[in-house]
Amino acid sequence: MSELDRSVRLVRAWVRRYTAGLDVQHAALRSAEVDSDLAEHERFRRDCGWPLARIDRERMRRSIMGIPDDLGWRREQLRTRSWHGVTTVVVPVTSAASLLLAAYHIAFAAFLLGNDSLADQQFWGRSPLHGFEGYADEAGAPSAALIIGGLGILVAIAALARPISPVVANAIAMPIALFAVMFFWQGVCHLGLNFHEAAATDLATRAPRPTPP
């Protein structure tokens, strides 16, 4: 193995190192470009009549001097990829959570409209989650939740349809996703209590206990 081959191998090993874990295509393109640069460099200096050892030293110097920028390039690639990943995950999750929330509240509102007696009892306000008790006792709470869900859907659609900054998209999407999931969870808990209480009420009214003799 000549000195020149050794420098090429060292540079290639470094390229493999700083492109590790990146998108395969990006890494391959970077590697191919550096390979091309190495070959052009060698050809140019050979034409100038430089000895191989000198070409080797210059090539190594260029690579070493570029290490901070190689690492900076890697950081940029990783940042772009991670933000892209977060955007692709968070925006659909937000949309799904908002849709779920809206669907639940529509179904629950319909359930209440069909059962006036249940709505009057207000037992569905007893949330097992502390701090949320007041929410469901309010008469307009399901409507407010629907509006929040609807807004979430609109924002999520806007984020998907328009090429806005990933940071902005996530700043909007993340709190909405969290909010939607919390309300959805609360709703599920309420629904469980509703059925439990409805069944108990039904039993109490339809099957009165026989009076003891």
């Binding site: 091309s36 140019f44 190689d70 900076g72």
Partner: protein, 117 residues
């Protein structure tokens, strides 16, 4: 990377754009740019590999240069790896004009300000 105002170009980026401009529509590759930059600065030191290609990536991301890979057959005939070629865009030419008209920017290459690609 040195700190700079958004939208402004680093001296290396101005030099790269100038080299791309000089190469015309046929485009040029990274190492050729390093040579041009060294010649213009009357230096024998070639730009570091990482510095050069990171700057090219920034310029490409900003839409100031466009790049493509040459025909594999051309590389095969020449007996070397394929080159990635770069060409200045219209936006790049405008940015170069602005940068060169700024007295603070190093003017390595002057060109016709009326140029549009």
């Amino acid at each position: 990377m040195p700190r700079r105002k958004p939208g402004s170009l680093l001296p290396l980026e101005v030099s790269i754009l100038s080299a791309c401009h000089d190469a015309g529509v046929a485009g040029t590759h990274g190492f050729a740019m390093a040579q041009v930059i060294a010649d213009a600065a009357a230096s024998r030191r070639l730009t570091a590999t990482g510095t050069l290609y990171r700057a090219l990536q920034r310029l490409a991301d900003a839409g100031l240069v466009e790049n493509w890979w040459e025909d594999p057959n051309d590389a095969l005939d020449a007996g070397r790896p394929r080159r990635r070629l770069y060409r200045i865009t219209g936006a790049g030419a405008n940015a170069l004009t602005v940068a060169l008209s700024d007295t603070k920017a190093p003017a390595l290459h002057r060109f016709d300000p009326g140029y549009t690609s």
